[in-house]
Amino acid sequence: MSVCQERELNSNLQSINLGSLAPGSSARLVSIPEHPLLYSLGLRPGKIIQCCGCQLFGGPLMIKTGDRQVALSKIIAEKIIVDII
């Protein structure tokens, strides 16, 4: 809810879920679902990430945050909200 309200204020930023981010583009993480590992792997609100594409056969999304690289299932990715930058 709060995320949506914030979006209305920053209407020039486009918020989407991480699963629909195009490969090669960067985004700022806005909201992260509760998960014991996401924060530890560097996926925290405010962080800039780059989507490196998706593995074949419904495999995971490859994400870069800073120096780190993470493979992330699409189901989790769809629960992560990002701002395209």
Binding site: S40, G42, G59, P60, M62, I76
Partner: protein, 597 residues
């Protein structure tokens, strides 16, 4: 009282390499999540003093997400017992009833390995551990990697903010290890006094993690790792990553077979046949007159001959070549990439891509493979991988036996055997996924930096494997062969063969003597194949025998491991399933001639 030091850190920070350097004792060193599932312990010596060092499984925080991490949390937070109650801080995530029990004293010191090359990744756990007020020492590892990425860690700032001693190390090359050892013993010295008083309390929050990173990391230039990046992209993106993955797997397999065959043909076989056996046979014939007793020693199944020839010339070369290739794949950081690439395919079987790790270990030996399933996310995944490994993943000893049995006669049959094993695994995986309740954990894994494997680290691991093989592999095999030679020479084996002869001769269409491997195979997996070498079999019979051997019951040690890790009833189910599948497919293969001729 023995003091215990815990070596802790996030996954893939070089913790196990540091453990090796500190203790001189070998454990597995690899940079993928979940390597040190079964914790290793060793002793650090400094003159007359010594302490126990425990290599705790890597974890990102004190909130365990799998059984392997629970071990780590339990080692620090305890199991809720009285002596540990003061440690039950919120940092332990309320996890006080971990599944794995462990009897261990309170840790005297934690050596925390912080990866300078992935600095922020290890800070949260460090802050959590500092909250627990256990004396702590930081080993700042892989400063070289940080420098390559274009920054340095300001050690003085880190020390000032946290109030802990920070020792820079490069575990792979051994740099800084002596200093670390000195600091460990200084901190543990009761005369220099309490060690945790100066530790400053900073709440374990992500804000503090970012504050620390900002204050401590100094940019030195731009990142200078273009070739590492280039290879990372090639190996990790689906194109050409998947094609390269197939190539890597083929190379690994070719390496295992090629190096193994080379070792056998040019070193071990000439050594045993030329130098060891002739004097052994001469000496034994002098001592023991010809007859049953002599045959038990040096006859057809004579255990002095087969008991040495099989373990040392048939199996050992492949044990060495397998673990050599596996170490290269592990130490380079390729394993998590393979896991990510194959994740989509494994998903069809209800498995995560990371289950490639226990599978690959299983081609070495099923026991570490089944232990490694602890790092998987759900019980269903553990069960599935365990069943598939027990059913259709031959251990390296058995693979060595298959190569000896089939490669000379028909490479096609050899390939057909492996293809059949994969098809059965896929079918069984699909079946289990469909009919067994349970979840597949969503994939989330860190892809660590690619590293060039260090040959001295690989050599150390091979040396450990060799020692382990002699104690855990050769001796049981020797004993099993000795028992078999008694059974064989006394005619008991033939009697057993006659008892189950309808199954062996009518259903499998094999000679009566082929009943022997069915008994021996229960003891050691390769013995379900090796005795077939000396029977005069047609190619189809060889294929039948190999298929039965492949699917037949896993060895007794694996059955014991399965009942320990799961339940006895599950182990019994695996025994029944494998026996049934083995005879079912064996019988089908034996009838292939209808289609061929």
């Amino acid at each position: 009282m023995e003091q215990t030091v815990l070596l802790m850190g996030a996954p893939n920070v070089g913790k196990s390499a540091l453990f090796n350097r500190l203790t001189g004792l070998n454990v597995r060193v690899a940079n993928y999540t979940g390597t040190t599932v079964d914790y290793a312990s060793g002793v650090i010596r400094n003159g007359e003093r010594h302490v126990n060092l425990i290599d705790v499984p890597g974890t990102y925080s004190l909130c365990a997400t799998c059984e392997a991490e629970e071990v780590a949390v339990e080692m620090v937070c305890g199991k809720g017992g009285d002596s540990f109650s003061r440690k039950s801080s919120p940092a332990c995530c309320g996890k006080q009833q971990a599944a794995v029990s462990m009897d261990m004293g309170q840790p005297a010191l934690i050596v925390y390995v912080l990866d300078a090359g992935n600095f922020e990744g290890g800070l949260y756990l460090l802050l959590q551990l500092l909250e627990l007020k256990i004396p702590l020492l930081v080993a700042l590892n892989r400063g070289d990697l940080a420098l390559e990425k274009g920054y340095i860690v300001d050690i003085k700032a880190l020390t000032d903010i946290l109030g802990v001693t920070v020792v820079p190390t490069i575990a792979l090359s051994g740099k800084g290890v002596a200093e670390l050892k000195t600091h460990i013993f200084n901190l543990l010295n009761p005369e220099t006094g309490a060690t945790d008083n100066e530790t400053k309390s900073i709440l374990a929050t992500w804000n503090n993690v970012e504050m620390l990173t900002e204050k401590v990391l100094r940019k030195t230039g731009t990142s200078n790792n273009s070739s590492r990046d280039k290879w990372d992209r090639r190996l990790t993106n689906p194109w050409p990553g998947l094609m390269l993955a197939v190539l890597v797997l083929i190379l690994v397999f070719a390496g295992i077979v090629g190096i193994g065959m080379g070792l056998r043909q040019f070193i071990l076989l000439p050594l045993f046949r030329g130098l060891i056996f002739p004097p052994l046979i001469n000496f034994t014939s002098l001592l023991i007159p010809a007859g049953t007793i002599q045959n038990i020693f040096i006859g057809e199944y004579g255990f002095l001959i087969k008991g040495l020839e099989w373990p040392f010339t048939l199996v050992l070369p492949y044990v060495l070549s397998f673990y050599f290739m596996l170490s290269l794949v592990e130490d380079s950081g390729y394993m998590p990439r393979l896991a990510a690439l194959l994740d989509g395919l494994f998903k069809r079987l209800g498995l995560p891509g990371t289950s490639i790790i226990p599978f690959m270990l299983g081609y070495g030996c099923g026991i570490p493979a089944i232990m490694a399933t602890r790092a998987l996310g759900s019980q269903k995944e553990r069960l599935t991988v365990t069943v598939l490994i027990c059913l259709a993943v031959p251990c390296i000893s058995q693979t060595g036996a298959f190569i000896s049995l089939l490669a000379a006669r028909s490479v096609t049959v050899m390939i057909a055997l492996f293809v059949l094993s994969w098809l059965v695994m896929i079918a069984a995986g699909l079946f289990i996924n469909r009919y067994i309740e349970g979840n597949r954990a969503e994939t989330l894994l860190e892809i660590p930096d690619l590293l060039v494997p260090r040959i001295d680290v690989v050599a150390k691991k091979l040396w450990l494997r060799l020692k382990l093989y002699v104690t855990d592999g050769v001796l049981p095999m020797f004993a099993a062969v000795a028992g078999a030679s008694v059974l064989y020479e006394t005619g008991l084996m033939a009697a057993f063969g006659r008892a189950i002869s309808p199954l062996v001769t009518l259903w499998l269409r094999l000679p009566e003597e082929a009943a022997a491997p069915l008994i021996l195979g229960i003891l050691r997996r390769e013995l379900s194949v090796l005795p077939l070498l000396d029977l005069e079999l047609t190619t189809l019979q060889l294929f039948t025998g190999a298929v039965v051997g492949l699917f037949y019951v896993p060895c007794i040690a694996i059955v014991a491991t399965v009942s320990r890790e799961f339940k006895v009833s599950f182990a019994v189910a695996i025994l029944l399933l494998t026996t049934f599948v083995a005879f079912f497919f064996g019988g089908l293969i034996a009838r292939l001639d209808i289609f061929l001729f």
